[in-house]
Symmetry: C2
Subunit: 458 residues, 2 copies
């Protein structure tokens, strides 16, 4: 407690703001603790006493991380919301969170939420309702936990134009891929280790299939391009197919594999009818090869980071903890203090506006570099045939590497061995690449296509 | 130009804000260009037309990076300021910048500045004047160029407590140290290369002696600890004494040397009379050894980064371009757009308040780990003598490494060779370390103390 070093709030003039907390899970419990413990410091910083008026939970007797006064708990969220100046929603899930947020807006409360699932589905309609009511709705905690990303994008970059956002926004998958990269572990072993250490949930599907990253990708894209995006606009591929061999081959070629959420401004492909609009935005989540000297490559363990490219600012990166009760509580409280300062000063709230009408582009609008692993027969002319096939489909090769696996021991029977081919292409469209891969599979000299991965940041 | 994708501003309702620009150097010229080129997009984002009412310069005919309409230029800065809603000060230096900013505040204008030299000296008094007038004064561009750091610290972390900030805030010195680290170059050669490539000015003193980093350190400390700090509160040591041998030895031990500006909350040393206050803040700039896997170690070339440790959020890092006309213009325009939005919405401005009264602590309050390089005689018992001396002064050794340089060729005359000793200590105070080093220098078995450097981030 730092109360001693803050000038004491002049009690006669100090306003009191009623703060309602919905949910007391690992983030909610920490938010409640800090609101109670640091009440004096928060009052000095905002000019208002933030009075925690109640905590709505489903089960008052459930065990919690923090010991909180029992009299604050209630199961009647609706009554709590209707008497609040600021409502902090940390229940997660779509309902009853959505209904309670709408009730808060109706009753003129400022809303702070960390609910990425709800925002990814219903964000645009919630922002609109808050906007119409002149109320703030902020959600720093919904993307990348403790990392301040909402205000930097919304305010600091407000005079710039973002062209691409690439985020490591899921700690579980970054931990797994980092384990595989540093120890050579298989996906299954790395997942087991993540579960053992508490980085993965009992059912890790939402993380490893990329759904969690996709929700955050939609929110990041909406924020960065002033245009509403929802979960269904996101092309999503998880990390379950990434093998130890992929990681090793990538490492060997100077790359690291990360699960990235990428939102990118692109030209609208020719033939698309978008009323004359030239540019659109594509949002996608997939395992991605990054050069090992890329700033995102240095993001280890369960840490998160968001890498932004803007026309004037150039490259920016924001790094920190993406989850955890206390770190995420820091983001929630930043929103609460900002809201409280505004309520003390008066004046209208800062609302979200979607001034842009950039169309959503599908994955087919994206051109990127690809990494392709092939298991081929070791025969003369293989490289020539494969190169010709790439050229036919208009996909240009940047680098190609062949490793021959052939036993030439005393019992060599002269049978042909197999060759491992690793190809990095120049930028190609999804369609051209897919057609190339399809054609390669048809060659009799190809045993299998072992991996097809996208490359960014080169 | 993206005008087409933004909903057109309703011209009847659109307010016009007069923006005065002071200075048309490499940042100012880019700010003017973007204000003119992106006028429609900026109007859509702010709800106001930002009319560049004039550009005050000393010499209208000086060559500029950008071709700007001649009729905008004036040498009468004072008249320009008095008619403006928003004043952007990018002249640099103390005067006439200070007088013009005060004039702007007197006339009720919102001020945006990138003037780190002025803020480091006079920041607190300027914030106070703006505060008293209910006007915003923002300065994102003053620290770490394009990197959004002001809003994350002021707003996003407003509900948290920062404990330490470490910044690579000078691109010139980071470029030089990075060159030395990657190529093995000497300081002089790396400086020459930086000059050749335009990363160092003709007179590089302010950069290499750490003065520029110290000014930014004072601003970062004020912002992070809600307490006024000025340039003279900063303990400052530049990089001119860092040798290729230091860099090589650090590398060998798993470290990289960076020039860091560090602001840190520390206990007030016993005996200091600070009216019962327990904690204070020390601000310092010096070459620092960082473990190579620390996030700041991956900041290469002329890039900047600010690493923040906060009680709840844990570790955060903000990375990007620290200088350059266009990147810095991005930060300036972020402030301008934020100010314009507020002027359109109405309500009082967001002012800087220094609620904290943390005392400034000198370098003697700091305890840190140290790296010490010694050139000693290669005699039995040297290690024992040196270890005993460290113990006597209460400085505990974490790691010690000895490399013997002795020629044992055919002409060996049996004379004693020399031994290179590298010692990393546990945390020790500046005073204890200084006393230890003094005592070591007095030992007859020591030829010289080759380096004494601080270690952080372990």
């Amino acid at each position: 407690m730092d109360a001693a070093v803050f000038s004491p709030p002049a009690s006669a003039e100090t306003k009191t703001l009623k703060v309602a907390l919905l949910g007391a899970g690992n983030v909610g419990a920490q938010v409640a603790r800090i609101l109670l413990e640091d009440a004096d410091a928060l009052a000095a910083r905002t000019g208002a006493r933030l009075e925690l008026s109640g905590i709505a939970v489903r089960n008052i007797d459930a065990p919690r991380d923090v010991d909180l006064p029992r009299e604050l708990f209630t199961t009647d969220a609706s009554t709590l919301v209707r008497g609040a100046d600021v409502v902090i929603e940390l229940m997660g899930g779509l309902e009853p969170a959505r209904t309670l947020i709408l009730e808060a807006i109706e009753h003129g409360a400022t809303v702070v939420t960390g609910n990425k699932a709800l925002l990814a589905v219903d964000g645009p309609s919630l922002y609109e309702k808050a906007d119409a009511a002149g109320l703030e709705l902020s959600y720093e905690a919904a993307v990348a936990g403790a990392i301040p990303i909402l205000r930097p994008i919304r305010d600091s970059l407000a005079g710039d134009k973002i062209t691409r956002v690439m985020g490591i926004v899921n700690g579980t998958t970054n931990f797994i891929l980092d384990q595989m990269d540093t120890t050579g572990a298989s996906f299954e072993d790395a997942l087991a280790e993540a579960t053992r250490l508490g980085y993965a949930e009992a059912d890790p599907t939402a993380d490893i299939e990329g759904h969690d990253a996709a929700a955050k990708g939609a929110i990041l894209a909406s924020l960065s391009f002033h245009t509403p995006f929802s979960l269904e606009d996101v092309h999503c591929q998880g990390i379950t197919q990434v093998t130890a061999a992929d990681i090793a081959a990538a490492k060997d070629a100077g790359f690291v594999i990360k699960l990235l959420a990428i939102a990118q401004k692109l030209p609208v492909p020719a033939g698309n009818d978008n009323g004359g609009v030239q540019a659109g935005v594509s949002v996608r989540v997939h395992p991605t090869l990054l050069p090992r000297d890329h700033p995102l490559a240095a993001v280890h363990g369960a840490f998160n980071a968001v890498f932004i490219e803007a026309e004037s600012a150039g490259e920016l990166m924001f790094y920190g903890q993406g989850a955890g009760g206390t770190p995420t509580a820091s983001a929630v409280l930043g929103d609460v203090v900002s809201a409280a300062r505004r309520l003390v000063l008066g004046g209208p709230g800062r609302t979200e506006t979607t001034t842009g009408v950039l169309p959503v582009l599908g994955i087919e609008a994206v051109t990127t570099q690809y990494y392709i692993g092939l298991d081929a027969a070791d025969q003369p002319g293989v490289l020539a045939k494969i190169s010709a096939l790439f050229a036919e489909h208009g996909v240009s090769i940047e680098a190609m590497r062949q490793t021959v696996h052939r036993e030439r021991g005393p019992h060599d029977d002269g049978a042909p061995g197999s060759a491992e081919l690793r190809i990095v292409t120049h930028r190609a469209s999804e369609a051209a690449l897919a057609a190339t891969v399809q054609a390669i599979k048809g060659l009799d000299i190809i045993n299998s296509v072992t991996s097809v991965l996208r490359v960014e940041g080169v």
